[in-house]
């Protein structure tokens, strides 16, 4: 057990170091920071002094170690375009992305699970067919097109909802929230549907297939034979047992939602981290890119690690499998 946990954590650290190396090489090999700071007409002495001051005359691995040490403390230097610390830019935009992702995830779960249950219980009803057709569209349409179509219908043609931005926000300490104003909530509707639709269809399909599988098992037949009402069989016996894989997938998808927010934020000009990243790519703002790279990798690595460890703790069969596989 301990060996597995340690190996898993070591692997996570290794991935982070590798991503850090990519981010660091961006800094080192793209552009010349000395030239950037001093301009064209600096004396050679000045150049040497600044190079020494920045530590650029030290060996590669020493510089990398310094970079990692600073990155761990959240220090990625100054943004090249907006002369501000990168960390501050991210802290400003973090609430927007997290609120959007949270609402999208909630939507996906709250709508996806009931749809999946219905489609499994009433397999042949027309509504189930509609759900399946919708899920096919949700899976095969690109996110950004869904966003654009929603804007076209609800913002341009009907004029009910705003087409871009976050609306009015209220600051609570350093956190700005759009949950407390009407325009903030209205602005949230279209982006969160766009972002949540793919995950919703995924959860729906998963719940449906798991549920169909569980409904075929012996203990369900037995529960029916005992004369339990359908309600009890479906929800207390069947649904409960489908939820373990669903929760795992939903957990893993949380990272995807934050990553896919890049696309949704671009469509709706939502002032979050994803939009910041896309803007930094188009203007070659390397510190911001490097920071985003590390941040998104960290989110994924942590989520995967937690899910793996939880799985291991929850499901004793997995321990046996691993032990058997090792021999």
């Amino acid at each position: 057990m301990l060996a597995f946990v340690l190996r898993r954590i070591a692997q996570a650290v290794l991935v982070m170091l590798a991503v850090g190396l990519i981010a660091f090489s961006l800094f080192t090999f793209v552009g010349d920071p000395v030239l950037f700071m001093l301009g064209q007409d600096a004396t050679p002495e000045d150049r040497i002094r600044i190079t020494h001051l920045l530590g650029l005359d030290q060996p590669f691995y020493v510089q990398y170690a310094h970079f990692v040490a600073r990155a761990v403390q959240g220090d990625f230097g100054l943004s090249l375009r907006q002369v501000q610390p990168v960390s501050r830019l991210f802290v400003e935009r973090l609430p927007a992305t997290l609120e959007l992702s949270f609402v999208a995830a909630l939507l996906a779960i709250a709508v996806g699970i009931p749809m999946g249950v219905y489609a499994a219980l009433k397999r042949n009803s027309w509504l189930s067919q509609v759900f399946l057709a919708v899920s096919l569209i949700g899976v095969s349409l690109p996110t950004f097109l869904i966003g654009i179509l929603l804007i076209l219908v609800f913002a341009v043609l009907l004029g009910w909802l705003p087409s871009f931005g976050r609306g009015d926000t209220v600051a609570i300490g350093w956190w700005t929230t759009g949950f407390l104003t009407v325009s903030g909530l209205k602005s949230l509707i279209l982006p969160s549907i766009t972002l949540g639709l793919f995950q919703m269809t995924l959860i729906m399909r998963l719940v449906r297939s798991e549920m169909l599988e569980v409904l075929r098992t012996d203990y369900i037949k037995f529960a029916r034979a005992r004369g339990l009402p359908d309600r009890s069989v479906h929800f207390r016996h069947a649904l409960k047992n489908t939820l373990v894989p669903v929760i795992t997938i939903a957990g893993l998808q949380l990272g995807s939602i934050i990553a896919f927010a890049i696309i949704t934020e671009t469509v709706f000009q939502w002032p979050g981290m994803g939009l910041l990243f896309i803007q930094s790519v188009t203007v070659a703002d390397i510190p911001v890119m490097a920071a985003y790279l590390c941040l998104i990798a960290l989110i994924f690595v942590v989520i995967n690690l937690v899910v793996d460890l939880l799985y291991y703790a929850v499901d004793p069969r997995l321990r046996l499998d691993r032990a058997a596989a090792a021999h």
């Binding site: 913002a155 990272g255 890049i262 696309i263 995967n304």
Partner: protein, 308 residues
């Protein structure tokens, strides 16, 4: 000769696959739409009503012409024109060309990379296998589109601007290709492990064929079946990834617009009422992706005897 061809046609018509195909109207429709899209894209230079990239033939005053059936529209421009007076139908046909080319090329790239690594991983085994599969595990925990976006973004910043514009399409193919190799590698590794222990491989080893020759000439043909099915389904994903990256402004350069680029350009005019500049490229993308997807699903089910 004629009788032979007739017999061949008859056999094909009565084959299991063809039978399943005829029985499913959705699949027939999907195949038809795919043919229309691919045909329009491939033959665009000959059948497109205008050449949108010939600046001499562009009439700026024709800009923002709505589709033919809307008031103010002209038959000359069936789906309307964009801000520079380019015919939308023609730009869409040329755009699908870029989308399809990038999609197919990156699927091919993923396939070669994934099959190669999977074959080596399964056949050689040991530390190399452990390393390749660990990298695959790690990559699989990130969404493919994010990886493509990061590779393309990093290349965009790392290369000098002029160089990048020239090779942007190849960088994009590389980025999408690298983001999709894992599935191929895992499948091929699995089947290679099975094939490796079979007698024909042992026999080849006994008569002294080299490792590379056994892998390529003997094992490879026997593990390609599932790979082709994965590739068919992968095409739609690759087209979506390309469109998304181009929409985000990190894909193909504006001089060679793909469907994604067209949608991004049209997006600016959505709020001012010129909806056709976005909607038609969007519809073209939807039709293309949906029909390719349906065809891929059908092929997967048809070739998988377990599902029958």
């Amino acid at each position: 000769m004629k009788a032979k061809a007739g017999a061949w046609l008859r056999r094909t018509w009565e084959h299991d696959l063809a039978w399943g195909f005829r029985r499913s109207p959705v699949t027939v429709a999907a195949a038809f739409l795919t043919l229309v899209c691919v045909g329009g894209a491939v033959f665009a230079p000959w059948i497109a009503p205008h050449n949108p990239f010939d600046s001499a033939s562009l009439v700026l005053t024709d800009g923002f012409t709505p589709p033919a059936w809307v008031a103010g529209g002209r038959m000359e421009y069936l789906l309307g024109t964009d801000d520079q007076g380019r015919d939308m139908l023609s730009t869409i046909m040329y755009g699908s060309r870029v989308s399809l080319a990038v999609g197919l090329a990156s699927v091919l790239f993923s396939m070669v990379l994934g099959v190669g690594l999977g074959l080596v991983s399964g056949y050689v085994g040991g530390r190399l296998d452990a390393f390749i599969m660990r990298v695959a595990d790690i990559q699989l925990s990130f969404p493919a589109i994010l990886i493509a976006l990061l590779i393309d973004g990093v290349a965009r910043v790392a290369l000098p601007r002029d160089t990048h514009d020239q090779i942007a399409i190849y960088v994009l193919i590389l980025a999408i290709g690298v983001s999709g190799w894992v599935q191929y590698a895992r499948t091929v590794r699995g089947s290679t492990l099975v094939e490796r222990s079979k007698e024909y491989v042992q026999a080849a080893r006994v008569i002294g064929r080299s490792q590379a020759s056994i892998m390529l000439r003997h094992v490879l043909p026997n593990v390609m079946g599932p790979v082709l099915v994965i590739a068919t389904i992968h095409i739609a994903t690759a087209i979506i990834t390309e469109a998304t990256l181009s929409y985000l402004g990190v894909g193909v350069p504006a001089t060679q617009p793909s469907l994604g680029t067209l949608i991004r350009v049209g997006n600016d005019f959505l709020l001012s009422g010129e909806w056709w500049i976005t909607v038609f490229p969007g519809l073209a993308l939807i039709v293309l992706v949906l029909s390719v997807n349906l065809l891929g699903d059908w092929l997967r089910d048809a070739l998988n005897p377990k599902l029958r």
